[in-house]
Point group: C2
């Protein structure tokens, strides 16, 4: 049971956690904080938070759990503000999509890695954002990855694990570098490709007509290009090494496919497409 949960950044991610913990009876008071009073008022009106303040330092007072749910590019500034004020008994966790960069931001803000800081990443979300889009079941049967540092206390990890489990999630652990590589592959690179493709087409002279003939497959493929541009700029910049490594692999494979098309090498195309279909059907069979 969490007595006071302070959520820094009450949007889709933070708001959905608050809703889920309330439904589960796993939280006492929920305090929201952030830069925009209107968003916080809206969160209170929706019953997502009990009270709010735009004063970060005041918001963490009395908290036994603090969730940092701001874009990864905004984390260091927030961390520097709360570091001197964080109660000794409070566990600090985050919901950032990149983990290496958040850990480094914490190290810089606190001067060291605190024992009560547990990096985390809920693998959930939609292309919508904002507290209005939040819902209690967002984490139901979804995975949350924790990437504990060498400094983490076992108790802090347990408390964060139990929080996400109370929200319905399945919690696993891996090291931060591995997390960043896996997420570059399954999330960051696909978003980059979707944004890039839509931008390429939107620059064409006959873009009106091009999009007019876009069918279901295109809509599915580009849905993630409707995601928050600032959030994804931050993610790309904060997971640079893993993302660029994955992009290089992809580009090399795409180059080989290009050569196969140019040289009428149908066997190679069929081999790659069949391999991809088999992998996709095997790993995504629970739709």
């Amino acid at each position: 049971m969490i007595k006071q949960l302070t959520i820094i950044g009450v949007g889709l991610i933070g708001g959905s956690l608050a809703r889920a913990l309330r439904e589960a009876g796993a939280v006492g008071e929920v305090v929201g904080t952030g830069r925009h009073v209107a968003h916080l008022q809206q969160a209170q009106k929706l019953g997502v938070i009990d009270r709010y303040t735009t004063d970060l330092a005041a918001a963490v007072q009395g908290a036994d759990m603090v969730l940092l749910a701001v874009p990864v590019g905004a984390m260091e500034v927030v961390l520097r503000t709360i570091a001197p004020q964080l109660p000794a008994e409070a566990v600090l966790t985050d919901a950032g999509s990149t983990k290496g960069s958040v850990i480094e931001a914490v190290r810089r803000a606190f001067g060291e890695l605190p024992a009560n800081f547990v990096p985390g990443h809920p693998i959930a979300g939609t292309e919508n954002s904002g507290v209005e889009a939040s819902f209690a079941d967002l984490y139901r049967d979804r995975r949350v990855i924790l990437t504990p540092t060498e400094a983490c206390s076992a108790d802090a990890v347990t408390r964060v694990r139990e929080m996400w489990q109370a929200a319905g999630a399945e919690v696993t652990e891996m090291d931060a570098e591995h997390h960043d590589r896996v997420l570059a592959a399954t999330s960051h690179l696909p978003h980059l490709l979707a944004f890039a493709l839509v931008d390429t087409l939107a620059k064409m002279d006959d873009k009106q007509e091009i999009f007019a003939y876009a069918a279901g497959g295109f809509r599915d493929f580009t849905r993630i290009a409707s995601s928050d541009p600032k959030m994804w700029r931050d993610i790309c910049m904060h997971n640079e090494p893993a993302l660029l490594a994955m992009l290089d692999c992809f580009e090399a494979d795409l180059k080989r496919l290009r050569e196969a098309i140019a040289h009428d090498d149908g066997d190679y195309l069929l081999e790659v497409f069949s391999h991809a279909k088999a992998a996709r059907d095997r790993f995504c069979d629970n739709e």
Copy 2:
């Protein structure tokens, strides 16, 4: 009203048209033909076709409308077989995803472009295939593009247009080259990228783990990688110039994004991502 519709290749596309025309009372007899007796038997059992034969020449006898719905790579062989047998009063149309290559195949098979041949492409489909996946509403409010040649008779175009309208589709016309460029952008390139990405990830050492953490966005993005590999091999090979031109534009844009990430150029990333989101939200707003 079509008296006898002969469908060559009774799968998702041909089967769904037969179902739609039956529901609309717009067809008398539906004759199915293809290579696989088991598929044709299944189509008859499902009530999609009235009768079948694996003899292509016999199948087109008595037809006033012939739909060619085989993979674009199989069209020329089929066309060469039916060319000497096609009744003078029959209109021939196709459902191929590429149009320039089909028109050339018809020209080679018939020695010239017949007045009663109307190239067509229904912009509909799912990642599933086969007659079992067919349904009457597949074309409801979807677009069908006809790309009439200079040889086309106006009457033949009208008859094909009315057939697709009876199935619920909105029919438009454009020239074949333009069609191939538009479809390369919105369909062929996205499929190539989805196949390429899944194949890239499936080759990684930790692929089990990578796919285990794939969330909703990845599933949407890669859904089209579950499409029929042979069909997509054929499409890539039969729309080579337009597809490679579009791929080159995309790769150049992706290269610029890579440089922006490598050089911490957040402004450029934000500009591209915002542009893409705005275009995607504007053009795909009817979800």
